[in-house]
Symmetry: D2
Subunit: 324 residues, 4 copies
């Protein structure tokens, strides 16, 4: 007898994360994509907008998301998820919100669970609603939570670089090819919106962590991926930081400790995060890299769905890597 498929829908399916959700869901072995909602593209084939889906699906965009689904993925601009849910509750047993509306605050504010499996997988397994973490937030947190969970964090200086897809599909001067090609620039120095997400998790794990993350974000001249280097003081009493990292991620299927220096493309088009730990003099340096659209967004959303529904954590996420 044929397995019963999980019904899913994507709200906001025409943008970058919306498209990437559709690509993953169409390839997920246990899932049926029931609807792909978009206000701007109603009636068009998915493959007319996401042209790499030519031949993959005959689905068209709809503006109707009333059909009942097991999981709804919300890929909206920041602020819009809260608004949509208060106007017209969606007919879904589980929700994964990829925006930042429910990442902060706690259960007195809302009933979303922060969906970083490497931090709180058991809580996610029991959740109905997930606030999917930000891309930079995921990369920096995965680099630091093993330390924080042992109370070893000191002041952190992180620099991170992100690809153009991180800025979304809207046409902007800083996503114009002629500006961005071969270019590097800073933005939102020490004020990036993911900093509160990061601080919240780190301070929960290590209550005496009295710093703000000093995070300098850069715009990179590539489309996909995030690379972060974080520098902090080497804890005085540790014995083996690298083993601590190995142990922390031992049971987690997507986060790997590399013995050699990592590079960004190592993880592009996968749901992995790779981490490399260095000790130089009295400093500890953590490098981490992930694909901003996958482990930094849609891949992690699938991972959270898998956990909530009791599927294998890696289901639909065994992606052929693409290092070149």
């Amino acid at each position: 007898m044929k397995e019963k498929k999980i019904k899913v829908g994507v709200i906001g399916a025409a943008g970058y994360t919306g498209g990437e959700m559709c690509r993953l869901l169409l390839n997920h072995p246990s899932v049926d994509l029931i609807f792909a909602q978009s206000r701007s593209q109603v009636g068009k084939l998915l493959s007319e907008v996401h042209i790499d889906l030519l031949g993959e699906t005959s689905l068209s965009f709809t503006n109707d998301y009333s059909e009942q689904v097991d999981v709804a993925f919300m890929c909206l601009n920041h602020g819009e998820s809260k608004q949509l849910l208060s106007n017209s509750p969606i007919n879904a047993k589980h929700i994964v919100d990829l925006g930042n509306d429910f990442r902060l605050g706690d259960n007195s504010d809302h009933d979303f669970v922060y969906g970083l499996p490497e931090w709180q997988r058991d809580k996610i397994k029991k959740a109905k609603k997930i606030a999917n973490p930000g891309c930079f937030a995921t990369a920096i947190q995965l680099g630091l939570i093993p330390l924080a969970s042992h109370g070893l964090l000191s002041e952190v200086h992180s620099t991170g670089i992100t690809g153009a897809t991180g800025a979304g599909q809207a046409l902007q001067p800083t996503t114009h090819f002629s500006w961005r090609a071969n270019n590097i620039s800073g933005y939102k120095t020490l004020t990036h919106q993911h900093i509160p997400e990061i601080n919240r998790v780190l301070k929960t794990l290590q209550p005496n962590f009295n710093f703000e993350i000093n995070f300098v974000p850069w715009r990179g001249d590539f489309t996909r991926g995030i690379f972060v280097s974080s520098v902090l003081n080497l804890p005085q009493f540790e014995t083996d930081i690298k083993t601590l990292y190995e142990n922390y991620y031992y049971s987690h299927p997507f986060t790997y400790i590399s013995k050699t220096m990592i590079n960004l493309k190592q993880v592009v088009n996968t749901n992995k995060c790779v981490i490399h730990v260095e000790i130089v003099g009295k400093k500890l340096i953590i490098h981490s890299a992930l694909d901003n659209l996958l482990k930094g967004a849609c891949g992690q959303a699938i991972q959270n769905m898998n956990l909530m529904l009791g599927l294998a954590e890696t289901a639909g996420l065994k992606l052929k890597p693409s290092i070149f």
Copy 2:
């Protein structure tokens, strides 16, 4: 009861095509990768050389390829396959050779079948040995065989551009980043080694095709993919060229006719070939695009294996596209 897996090996597994074969085979649902042969990397983990495979496999490179397998993939430099097979026959029921040693000639010379499924799928299904087509050869042939099969070809002018992975892993001046970034250059004008492959197939389909393909290859400043535009005279008596293309590829799961202009990244990291047909005045223009490492090499090799072994033609080739 667990399905019995197909045993496969890769000979020459440390290069670009060797690595891509391993990535595909590790993700193929019906396959067990038994050995990955390399002379230069013996004893190293696959994931030390192909670092994006971190966490995907614990296999190490070996120089021993004596174990019996169902399929052996040969990813050697041109000329080396013939030499290896004459020195030390490999213990495989089926062979797919990704080099150019057996692409030309006929059964009086060797017993390899030219593995272009869109041309001779039935012959491939019965084959034991496959000569896998060249990357440019595949892109140009898929653009032209519907015409040739109806005797509609006239003199063809093709210009094609290829990514740096097409030049292999060896360090060369023209693969130095500082040279190639933001650059375009020509090479092997009208003398590219794939021209005889193309001419052979076209002349088999249309015996009165009395031209050589005029093919101008360019080096592009990207890593993956091939884009070709071919111009020829519009046949005088045809009625509907576009329908002819649609019909030709109707039963082929990887080649698609796009109603709108195609672009290279539409197919990157997939096994697809997309084709767009234009008629302007008295000229017919065929644009075709594919990923040189997949439909132009390793993906097509898997497709040929699937056909030979009676698997679904698309098994292991449902890859998440990666348009950005």
Copy 3:
């Protein structure tokens, strides 16, 4: 006594070609940039919009172009030059129009001279108004006029690729970084607006040239430059095509015949055009490359100014090349 400087103004100075005109004029030893007109940026410093001019000039954008100048450069959208001149004649002794409003037609239509110095330098020297050629038109014409001037042209198949600056500063889907990076696509196949420019010049030189240029334009994933390969039949009776090219360009300071294959970056950030001629079997192949913003636009505009005013043809155009 200090040399008296030539007064110049730029109309439409905020776009890509407008900015490049300012960069060149600010570095030209015999020129004073009097005004930089823009409707959208009135009052802003040039260096606020063209931020690489930080420290080079204290000039601000103005919407007033009434001050008398020796030369006015018009860097407007196609169609706007004609409109502006009919509404409010500009106060300039010489005009160089970088748009396409006056490139076609003849003296019965307007009094602009087509500014391709390698074709009609003497006519340009006596001109007051110049219609500056298109970028693709310049690259293709420089590749073909030595043949046309000897009546040796046959049907031509040209493929050309252009950088993103060729599409201007406006935000469009095809100039979005996430789309264009690592991508190639076709557009305006055999219908590009520069084809009539090219045909007009070629047919003037070789009246029995009865073809249209078959020109396939591609969008490239780089910012600057044009590379074109043109294929035609080798003339039957010629003896030495390469010497014919050498002789044709002997007296021209910016166009060079290269004995080896050319590449695009060889000319980026210079006013040069490099050409490489190949003979393969019975075919003749001409490769040409130039910088679309310089020899394909603003550099050629300066060259035309120099010729009209009796300056050295290369004045202000001895630019440090930038091959990396």
Copy 4:
């Protein structure tokens, strides 16, 4: 009467910095390039190796550097300058060494002056021998010396990214296009060879600066340029850091303070360094950018020559910027 030109020679003229020295010297109005030495390219035309010099010079490479010159530029691998000078003293009134052989140490070790004009212009004016600073060293020092000169430095965390030309012309895995395109990676974390250069200058200016620079270098996926962000504590008693920077660089013709966020391409193909200063909470952030081959190498070498010879500091360095 024609001005008498300064005679110069380049030793090690076939590499990236050697080629860039030739480009600059050929365009310098007061200079005659007498010889371009290379062991590997003896007898070849400069324009056969540096093909963008086609038409610029008829000079050939020589292995003979015995001719007397006013200035010799040494563009050798690190360690080779010292060796060459001890083996066969060169016949030059002034020397600029672009390697790192004489950057450290003091007059008891050698008689080279560290050539950072923004630090010690007057000393350079009287020098005969210059040790030209490293590229990262220049970018970081220019970002920090205004603070150090006022004793305001605290512990510094710098992250910097460099283009592929920084790694030189040799073929290496990390300069292979297929590896480097769209990639980011770290290297030499906190151990880069420029750190001692930086520390020496900062500690000379601020003797109580008791830290090592925490410098994390990254490899970028572009050819030219360096971008650095440095974070430190905001000095407690300062009044106006931005004015302090403005004042410090007021008399220096190549270093500019930008009121808005800078980007890398703003300075590519120029001798400029641009700096942007931000204050966020109790932190001070300094961003700096320069072209590694110009202000980070050959442009600064010319600047040092100009100062030693009493020429205008900017002579030969008024380069057309190239922001796209």
